[in-house]
Symmetry: C2
Subunit: 301 residues, 2 copies
């Protein structure tokens, strides 16, 4: 078992976590959390999404967050769906955006009459606008480890999407197990295949803990040499297909894994625990975070 | 990443799960669960403990369970603490008992003025009585992956305990992360070292999900060639040092891992899910089991 010496985390609680909450936090509350996360040393933060506020009302103030967070030492990114998102990013000073497509061919064909790769090709306008606006752009592929519609996703379908992103000049790509179906052997195999075939890609992994496999999947991805992971404070978030199930892997749980395995993250563990506790106060319900429930215990500092 | 084709599970919910519940289940309720677990194909079941009912009142009817379960196709075992436990095992027809010692030298010295290995040597009378009674005996080592008292446990301390068990002719040994502190790299290293140094030992691993690492630790132990694991229906149980934290790894979660990774367990997944649901009805509170909350989802049958 070999692991990287160092990994890079992205805090996605402000986006993937809070967009699953019934009540929206206020802009000052979000800013308090965002600033605390950056101060704790988190290198990348997904602040929100620049999409229709009708679709995701909890994220309506994302432009404001970017304006307020201005010169942050962290990389701040936003999820977008189309060129309007790039335009909003340009207007609010957001320097990094992320697109997403589902790996489920059946689902994409039924909904949009396009394959996922054709959907990505349709992002050409976004990629062009981002380039002109000096905004970095990345791409996400959701459910490459399994979809509720068709079960297993052929690896060739994932490759087609990766190549569609690369054709647009997008070489930072996230594999997102939003449906929480991934298991470690599969994660290892897919990550290893992807890294070998596309060595120039900067890969991210985004795991949910829907079926309790989250930390095992992070571990498997690290064994396959992956070094960039999303996580959410207090484990906030959910699986859009399974109401009531656990959400994103908790930032604190990933930090415990890394601290005890000697893997550097640059994030202050105690500060992250305090943020998670504050988050649960703000959202008003207990968290899925195991570390928040159990504490660090005998972990030596 | 290589994994065994097949693993052996022991259902410990009736012991490690139920002994953590405030209210005791009735003997008929326990028998309903035990019979369902055996019918589901579970090869080994820890039915209860044959210890002082003052110490563990929830387990006071363990003798009755053994008498009723008589000729089960599963191996039925009981936790014991001393020779009285062997005597009770003999009287109720229990054919397999398990001893336990903590790997924490500091804790053992403070409490008993003996090292853990000296405590194991004190089990000689048990081992002799079990042999005479034709009862199989196994040994457990709790907290070899870390203790709340001293943090890391030197591997030599674990070796001393293993050798003390072997000196009594006990060659089936469980490594138990009751404090929920283990992380995958450590699990892999300790399991690999133990297997290489003591190839004749039949190893068991017992993980809790206290800090969210449970399934990752099972995966790491399997990578190190381990093939015997305890788990608890509905994830019942707890960490004795962290009230409110998650308990044993859930049997259903381990089954999801194995089903999706193509590892045989011999246990019927649907039956196990139904048992977990029934357990939560009986104990009257929601479970920690991720699979029970999320369902099997897109898992193909």
């Amino acid at each position: 078992m070999t692991f990287p010496d160092k990994i890079t985390l992205c805090e996605v609680g402000l986006r993937d976590g809070l967009q699953n909450e019934k009540t929206s936090l206020t802009t000052p509350q979000k800013l308090e959390l965002a600033e605390a996360v950056v101060t704790a040393g988190m290198p990348v933060v997904e602040l929100g999404s620049l999409m229709s506020p009708k679709a995701v009302p909890q994220m309506a103030d994302t432009d404001e967050l970017f304006k307020s967070m201005g010169n942050s030492p962290a990389e701040l990114r936003a999820l977008i769906a189309n060129k309007k998102g790039v335009d909003r990013a340009f207007a609010c000073g957001c320097k990094k955006v992320k697109l997403n497509v589902s790996a489920s061919k059946a689902h994409n064909l039924a909904n949009l009459n396009k394959t996922p790769a054709e959907s990505v090709a349709g992002f050409a306008e976004c990629a062009q606008a981002a380039k002109e606006g000096n905004i970095e752009i990345s791409g996400s592929i959701s459910m490459p480890f399994g979809s509720p519609w068709e079960g297993e996703i052929p690896l060739n379908d994932v490759r087609e999407i990766v190549e569609a992103y690369l054709a647009l000049g997008i070489d930072e790509i996230s594999l997102s197990d939003a449906s929480g179906m991934a298991v470690p052997s599969q994660v290892f195999n897919i990550c290893e295949a992807m890294r070998k075939q596309y060595p120039g890609v900067r890969w991210w992994l985004h795991f949910h803990n829907t079926r309790g496999m989250g930390i095992a999947n992070v571990t498997a991805a690290m064994e396959a040499g992956m070094t960039r992971f999303d996580s959410s404070f207090a484990g906030l978030g959910g699986c859009p297909f399974v109401p009531g199930a656990a959400g994103n892997i908790a930032t604190e749980d990933v930090l415990y894994l890394c601290e005890r395995m000697g893997i550097q993250t640059g994030v202050d563990f105690d500060a992250a625990m305090a943020i998670a506790a504050r988050v649960t106060e703000m959202v008003g319900h207990p968290a899925e975070s195991c570390l928040l429930k159990a504490g660090k215990g005998g972990l030596k500092q």
